[in-house]
């Protein structure tokens, strides 16, 4: 029964009904037949004296593959290759970036980063202020220390004098004293 089914399913039989010889061979079977046969004979001759046990073992492939494996493999390989081709495309990353949901936030961030660098520089301080501070520091390096102390002390005493004068003025105003009249 199985043999009958096999015959009905045999691809080599389809379309040949009514022909004298209903079977056909695949590809170049007869073209290479004698060459293949000779190879087998040579292989057997080479081994038979050296390894009689080995040469007695029937030579066939005991391994199998899952059903339909070789039918599906070309498609799988092609898909893998196409996926790799896309990832290798030098403009692929550009196409991804050009999507609006990515391009807007990315561009905004880049703009903010650019402006920040432009304005704050390295220390996160405005460039003008930074330049000013640098020039003060440079000037201080050229001035003698005693002069600086003297200058600071003088400033402090004049400030004290000013504050004393202010107190007197406040006192006179608070007590409604007119100095012109008193004198």
């Amino acid at each position: 029964m199985n043999d009958i089914n096999n015959i009905e399913d045999d691809e080599n039989l389809k379309g040949l009904k009514g022909n004298k010889e209903p079977f056909k061979t695949s590809g170049d079977y007869f073209e290479n037949f004698s060459e293949r046969l000779q190879k087998s004979i040579d292989g057997y001759e080479e081994v038979k004296d050296m390894a009689p046990l080995l040469s007695e073992i029937p030579k066939y492939n005991p391994f199998e593959v899952p059903t339909g494996y070789f039918d599906e493999l070309p498609t799988l390989v092609q898909e893998k290759c196409n996926a790799t081709a896309q990832s290798l495309n030098p403009f692929g990353w550009l196409l991804v970036l050009l999507k609006p949901r990515i391009v807007v936030p990315v561009f905004s961030l880049l703009l903010i980063a650019f402006l920040s660098i432009l304005y704050f520089g390295d220390n996160g301080m405005p460039q003008d202020q930074l330049a000013e501070e640098n020039s003060i520091e440079e000037q201080l390096q050229h001035i003698d220390e005693s002069m600086i102390i003297e200058e600071l002390t003088a400033d402090a005493s004049s400030e004290e004098e000013v504050s004393e004068e202010e107190k007197i003025k406040d006192y006179l105003l608070d007590n409604n004293i007119d100095l012109n009249n008193e004198l």
Partner: protein, 181 residues
Amino acid sequence: MDLTDKELLDQFRNSETRNYAFNLLVRQYQKKLYWHIRKILIDHDDTDDVLQNVFLKVWKSLDSFKAESQLYTWLYRIATNESINFLNQKKKRAGIPLDEVSSFLASNIESDQYFKGDEIQTILQKAILTLPDKQRIVFNMKYFEEMKYEEMSGILDTSVGALKASYHHAVKKIEEYLKTR
């Protein structure tokens, strides 16, 4: 219908027929390369991984293939190198000492759902697995694939004399193994 190497390459280099030509190439060589790799790695899933990587590499570098050697020699060479690399990495990952590699692969045969050999075939496969990797490759190519030494020489980059010696050593070792069973 199988195309010649030149026809395949010409079509591959044309962007309009590139995918078609590559599909033909895969169909033309997939079985030969699969069985070549499978004999080295034994396990079907490992073979499938390596075979797909082989074709991926071929696809990437076929443009630069110079027809100094035959296409199938070049394909076999890639497949052999990829298989040996894969096997070495697998040994490293699994921490298998070199002298236990054969028993490791032999256990793969016993548990392989796609191995349909009888008892004597199992013994033969185990005998083959006792050979060093490169000698095993030489034996399989000569004994099962019935390749000529000259063809093997191009693939394995080894002289014909060295290949003959390697094959004869392998046959003797296998015969010795079979005698003990």
